[in-house]
Amino acid sequence: MGRISAIGIDVGSTTAKIVGVDEGGELVWKYIEPAHPRVEEQVDRFLRKLEEENGPIDGIPIVATGYGRNLVHQATRKVTEITCHALGVFRQLGHGGTLIDIGGQDSKVIVIGPSGEVVDFAMNDKCAAGTGRFLENTAGRLMVKLDEMGQLALSSEEEVPISSTCTVFAESEIISMIAHGVRVEPILKGLHRSLVKRVVAMVRSVGLVPPLMLSGGVVKNPAIRKMIEEETGQKVTMPEHPQFMGAYGAALIALRGKRRTNA
């Protein structure tokens, strides 16, 4: 078919994504799976799947991004997720601003300039507080499904504050609350608040340049979006495929490189 002109692969800590774009840089094909420790095999599988559905990929440039990018030997180039996210979101939303990306094991704040360039960025500290892992860990403890957490949190009027930012300590804090008969929903609300506060502190450290944008797997959670708006007083916009922005940006870079070599 040949409608795919460039490929982007984002190997994150929790999920791996692949995106194909056409000549004009439109996202035409995408696929996501939980991240596999054998990155190369997984990427091979991704590429085969892409070929089955879209035809041969010989000669199509591939750019890899994400934590595992250096393990993607099929890629022609490797670029950090900061640059890729900025490009992907910029292309989809058509403007700069401040992007919050909350991923499985790291969150980042990127200030994007008027032409899609990275002006500044911040990433979470050396621990998993303020990332998706924080919610994931406690979801297991509270026996609620990860994708129901946000709704449950929003359903509660009450909110109990969680003081530990450390994922492991927050867990023990929650256990003791449950033991004292506190209901699950207010705890969940407090938990989301704690994560959001962490992320918003990161936004403050680089300085918020509106508009505020959101991407990453965790933004599917409605409570996160709502609380970010509450904490920053800013309306949040989201791209159509928030989880694929890294891979999309990577594909755009691959496309750019291709144009440059063709020219």
């Binding site: 934590y67 670029v79 950090t80 900061i82 360039e117 990275v118 960025f121 990433m123 050396k126 450290s205």
Partner: protein, 441 residues
């Protein structure tokens, strides 16, 4: 201190006769050999020739230390202490911070600081202090043996950690401790603060004299001050050569060659050393040799080095055409040179030692960084947020934001610790550095 003629014989034989001959031979060999095999000559200029002398000076310094007890009075001092008084009195001076850095660079700081942690010292304490206390408790050191102090000399112009750290040492070694308290300078130093510090310095003399068992000669003190000033001026000039494009030496070179100006200030051989270094650096400028072969971008470094990552970071950056050419840290040992006035030793020591970078307001550091960005034509800055060194790291978030706002240059806050690799996460640091480099191009 008690003098012991047997110790003196041991000192002369092992240091002056055997040691000197061996070290000279080693230097001669090093000067003739090419760069070490591990040296990445594809991305870096060959190592500075002066390196052989740096090695000789430092090895001799620790060798002297090894045989100093009983022959010379020994003092342990903080890096910002007015050491000229002790030099003039003939002390052997040991800098636990430099020793700590050496342990870091040789990658034994974790093992040694664990000794302190096992004894109950918290990991939140500065890693230099932990390394030193660990060495004190266990006797572990990569330099053979450290001499026991007869006197401890701490100056609070770098941090408050030293105040408590040196009290621990005083209790352990049961020797006198002199503390010079330097009031914080918010904008410019107050005259009464200077007088207060001067008075303390004068009061310190009789104690240092008593321990040394000799009187301070003012003639000697003035001479030491002259050497101090000359060496600091030369060091300043060496660093300022970094304004050239390409920069003849990088900040990583400075980190390695700064040991003499810190721990051998006031000695004539230190002056000779920096004069020779300046000649070599000037020669590089003339020939257009850059420390980084393919210098494309130039950066500022703020805060202490990450001692156990020096080589990795330097190679990582050089591979990407990035030269780090100026740093607030190495500058601290040169920028105050003009304040040293040998004719007014106490007055000028008070004036100098009250205003090192860590004893002045954070706004001053910001001004300094801005000046460096302009004068050294820098494209960005790396601010090492040092978990250990709170006084250096405070204010960095704002400083970083100001640099970005006022100069439009990218600036990265890199979280680490100068001496504790357990506070350095390779993957995370790499992710930040990669993204930062992409912003530079």
């Amino acid at each position: 201190m008690k003098r012991d003629w047997r110790a003196s014989i041991r000192y002369y034989w092992n240091v002056k006769v055997l040691g000197n001959a061996y070290l000279r031979w080693q230097r001669w060999r090093m000067e003739r050999k090419g760069p070490p095999r591990r040296w990445r000559t594809d991305i870096l200029a060959p190592p500075l020739k002066i390196g052989a002398r740096t090695k000789e000076l430092i090895s001799r310094h620790y060798l002297e230390g090894r045989y100093a007890n009983g022959h010379k009075p020994v003092a342990w001092v903080t890096s910002g202490a007015p050491v000229e008084i002790l030099q003039a009195l003939g002390y052997y001076v040991l800098y636990p911070e430099n020793h700590g850095a050496l342990c870091g660079a040789r990658k034994v700081s974790v093992e040694i600081s664990t000794e302190a942690e096992n004894a109950g010292y918290s990991r939140d304490i500065c890693s230099y202090a932990r390394t030193d206390i660990g060495a004190m408790l266990s006797g572990k050191t990569p330099v053979g043996k450290l001499p026991k102090p007869d006197l401890l000399f701490a100056c609070t112009n770098i941090c408050q950690t030293v105040l408590f750290w040196y009290r621990v040492l005083a209790e352990h070694f049961k020797v006198p401790l002199i503390v010079i308290d330097t009031p914080f300078v918010y904008t410019s130093p107050q005259e009464y603060s200077i007088q207060y510090v001067k008075k303390q310095l004068e009061n310190a003399v009789p104690i240092a004299e008593k321990v040394a068992g000799r009187k301070l000669s003012y003639k000697k003190l003035k001479q030491v001050m002259r050497y101090s000033r000359m060496a600091a001026e030369l060091w300043l000039q060496v660093m300022e050569r970094g304004k050239n494009r390409p920069a003849p030496i990088s900040v990583f070179d400075q980190f390695i060659h700064m040991a003499p100006i810190v721990e051998m200030r006031g000695k004539p051989e230190t002056v000779d050393f920096y004069a020779a270094m300046l000649r070599e650096v000037d020669d590089r400028v003339k020939k257009g040799i850059g420390a980084v072969r393919n210098e494309q971008r130039r950066l500022l470094w703020d805060n202490l080095p990450i001692w156990y990552k020096l080589r990795e970071l330097s190679e990582y950056l050089a591979e990407r055409g990035v030269a780090v050419v100026a740093s607030t840290y190495t500058m601290a040992w040169g920028e105050l040179a003009p304040l040293i006035d040998p004719e007014k030793p106490f007055e000028s020591m008070a004036r100098t030692y009250i205003q090192p970078i860590l004893n002045v307001g954070t706004g001053k550091k910001l001004e300094k960084m801005k000046r460096m960005i302009e004068e050294y034509h820098l494209d960005g800055a790396i601010l090492h947020s040092d978990r250990s060194c709170k006084p250096y790291s405070i204010g960095q978030v704002d400083q970083r934001n100001r640099l970005i706002r006022d100069y439009g240059v990218p600036a990265l806050l890199l979280e680490a610790d100068h001496n504790d690799p357990r506070s350095y996460a390779d993957e995370q640091a790499r992710a930040r550095l990669d993204a930062f480099i992409e912003m530079l191009y």
